[in-house]
C-alpha cells in the first residue's frame, strides 16, 4: 500500500486565477494519476503522470489548462489554470505501485471557483 497526502485540502479561488495542487507519496511509484470528481459523479481521469515522461491527457483535458509536473517518483503537481466556476470540483491523485492494479488515493483537494 501507499500513503498519499495532498495540499491544499481545500481552496476557494477567484475566476481567472490558477491553483497548484501537490501530491506526495510515502514510497516510490511509477504510475500516478490525477482525477476529478464532481459531487455525486464518478471519478474522471484527467491524466496519467509517469516520472521521466510527459503526462498523458484524456480526451477533454489539455496540458495548457491542466499542466502536470512529475519531478521524481514520490511527487507530482497538477495546476488548474485560468479557472472558471466549471472547474469547481474535487481533485484527487492516486498511485499504482509495483505490478498491482489497485490504486491508492489521496484525500482530495476540494476546489471552489467564484
Amino acid at each position: 500500500s501507499a500513503v498519499i497526502s495532498q495540499k491544499p485540502s481545500r481552496d476557494i479561488c477567484q475566476r481567472g486565477t490558477s491553483l497548484t495542487i501537490q501530491c506526495q507519496v510515502d514510497s516510490q511509484v511509477t504510475m500516478m494519476f490525477w482525477y476529478r470528481q464532481q459531487p455525486g459523479q464518478s471519478l474522471t481521469l484527467i491524466a496519467t503522470a509517469n516520472q521521466g515522461s510527459e503526462a498523458t491527457y484524456e480526451s477533454g483535458f489539455v496540458i495548457d489548462k491542466f499542466p502536470i509536473s512529475r519531478p521524481n517518483l514520490t511527487f507530482s503537481t497538477l495546476t488548474v489554470s485560468n479557472m472558471s466556476p466549471e472547474d469547481s470540483s474535487i481533485y484527487l491523485c492516486s498511485v499504482r505501485s509495483g505490478g498491482s492494479y489497485e490504486q491508492y488515493f489521496g484525500p482530495g483537494t476540494r476546489l471552489t471557483v467564484t
Binding site: S42, T48, L92, Y101, Q103, Y104, F105, P107, G108, R110
Partner: protein
Amino acid sequence: SQKIEQNSEALNIQEGKTATLTCNYTNYSPAYLQWYRQDPGRGPVFLLLIRENEKEKRKERLKVTFDTTLKQSLFHITASQPADSATYLCALDISGGFKTIFGAGTRLFVKA
C-alpha cells in the same frame, strides 16, 4: 457508447442483513474489475480485485462475483454493520490495464 452503470439510488438495509450492489458495463472487455469504498470527504479505498478468469472472490465479509458473459459484477457485504455505510465504486481496468475507469457509485446506508 462505453459506460459503467451502478444503481444511482441509495440502498438502505437493516443491520445484519446482506447488502448486494450491482455493477453493469457495456462495450468493455476488462481483464480486471475492482471495488472501492468512498466515505464523504475522502478518497476511494481499494477493497477487492477480481480477474476475468475468476468467478468469485472473498475477503472477510465481502464477496465479489464477475460474470463476463453478462458483463456484470455483484458486490456483497454479509452481516452488514452501520460502519459499512459508504459509497461503493466499481472500476474496470482497460487499455491493457493502464487505465482504470470508475462508475458513479452506489450509496449504502445500514441502519442499526
